[in-house]
Symmetry: C2
């Protein structure tokens, strides 16, 4: 009997996520029925939103069920098909979870062309993270040439795309990231005008120095003190796309002290979830794919090897250990 | 020689505003020049925004200068005129400050009709506070019938109008105010569906109980813990008009802990200053005047007597001692 491995949620996190919150299982490869297909996943995407799904709280999505396969985006290849629209060998992206294989009826699966763009990029810059950047920048921040845009978690899968897109639109772009290596990546590979290391101990002053004309748009992935520091430099009528608050995902207090700036500077702040704007994905992904194919956008990946490495890689990502997009390579 | 009294800013506040921050002066009544007119003020408006102007900080307006007459809206009567458009006896509203009289060139002065609506109301419900309510509700919250709207500082000059306008649009309206007297006014005179006394010690629970279907729109005048409590009950795609944060105007820490709700509930928050939307004042004030004249909107005033009472009345208002619109009667 052929088998494959998958990882299920074993327990809800007690504050920080622990390896024991996950359980690796070996299960038989199923027979596929009429209209179904079987995918061997090549890459698993690890993303901050998964942390919120692990909690049993009211949010924008149902919580991840205990003992179910961990939710997650995947990119792989069809290895068996009873589905008229998918053939063996097709490259596909979907949401098959932390699992080496997955059965699908094709409804949440998309065929992709991996000749121009690598398969893994469909989980990053030309996938959900890229789309998140595209939407938050273009639809919420609506930057104008010459404006200054700040991006937290700037080296990450989302932030790195935000900054590059803003640069292409003629903005000055300030990144905020944790540590020298990330900041170097942000400036050297992603072309930001400046990157502030929030671990260097002078966040407020460094942001002020890097944005002498103030900040017009903030793409916020972190929350807490990082957000406070940028709020203090916002210009009148500035706009804030609230995409993530990873600094508080473990439930730690994350008070924001500078919210009065929203009033005194007449700021607009909008929280958003990219899965609620599916109607824009074709346009956004098409633009991103073209920019990647023509080398106008760069991306960086941190790749863990093998499904069993996923929990550690995920925990590391939540602690900011990854550089760029965090993936798990399964094949 | 005829004289009149005025109050100037003597010193910037050290934390809380103190009576010694003001100085009462007696000055000669000036001769008016060509194109000028002289107004005897009947009412002085006291408003929370004045507190921010007393600080020497970057904000949406220049700070109030030391030794200058305190800024403020006034309603009065023309008592001398060399101006073709104003005659002695005209009732006018303007920004003549904490002063029994004022000279104007007519540019910031508006003639009003006090036969249908009392002169003092032009400083409140059919003036800047009413317009603030009208704009924040209609242009930012954009309520739909059946939605639940929460209003902090609900008994105040702005909050009371927000709630009444929202009721007229078919919303359920929850007020938040400090103390039983205010809450009674909010429900009995202004027709809110419920009013929560934030001093009663169960703010979070009381809001939850009063808004069983959650809150779709928040008109925020207070900030801090009041804002936190409402944020926790916001529905997806809720909207927040950030009009004031009076709980922090003395510089006290006012951390907001529930900002993550802006993300998880995909909220939109917009800070605004009504003086930046002058193009809408004619429409808004006309609608408000009609609703007041036809008794569809109520208002309540707390009136201090005589200019010398202004500092104490202002300090009292900042501490929430007033019921409804705080005025000083000068004549």
């Amino acid at each position: 009997m052929q088998t494959y491995q998958r990882i299920v949620l074993a327990a809800r996190p007690k504050e920080s996520v622990a390896p024991t919150d996950f359980r690796l299982e070996t299960v038989p490869v199923p027979e596929i029925g009429e209209g179904q297909l079987l995918v061997r996943n090549h890459y698993l995407s690890l993303d901050p939103y998964m942390r919120m799904r692990m909690e049993d709280i009211k949010s924008y999505a149902a919580p991840q069920a205990i003992d179910d396969v961990m939710i997650g985006g995947t990119a792989g290849e069809v290895i068996a098909s009873n589905h008229p629209k998918f053939a063996v060998g097709d490259k596909v992206v979907g949401m098959l979870g932390w699992s080496e294989m997955g059965v699908s009826d094709g409804s949440m699966l998309k065929k992709v062309d991996s000749t121009q763009i690598s398969l893994s990029a469909y989980l990053g810059i030309v996938g959900m993270p890229g789309m998140t950047a595209w939407y938050g920048l273009n639809k919420i921040l609506q930057p104008k040439p010459g404006q200054t845009i700040a991006v937290s978690a700037a080296s990450g899968a989302v932030g790195s795309v935000v900054g590059q897109l803003a640069k292409l639109q003629g903005c000055r772009v300030i990144g905020i990231a944790g540590g020298k290596a990330k900041c170097q990546l942000v400036v050297d590979s992603f072309g930001f005008d400046a990157c502030i290391d929030y671990k260097a101990g002078n966040l407020f002053g460094d942001i002020k120095a890097a944005a002498p004309d103030g900040i017009d748009g903030l793409f916020e992935n972190v929350g807490g003190v990082v957000m406070d520091a940028v709020l203090n430099q916002m210009n009148p009528f500035g706009r804030i796309a609230l995409c993530g608050m990873i600094s508080g995902y473990d439930g730690q207090p994350m008070p924001v002290h500078s919210l009065h700036k929203v009033l005194s500077m007449r700021l607009m702040m909008q929280g958003f979830i990219i899965s609620e704007h599916l109607e824009l994905w074709p346009q956004g992904l098409s633009e991103l794919a073209q920019l990647v194919a023509t080398k106008k956008l760069n991306y960086h990946e941190t790749i863990a090897e093998g499904l069993a490495a996923a929990p550690e890689a995920f925990i590391g990502m939540l602690r900011g250990k990854n550089l760029g997009k965090q993936l798990v390579k399964l094949v």
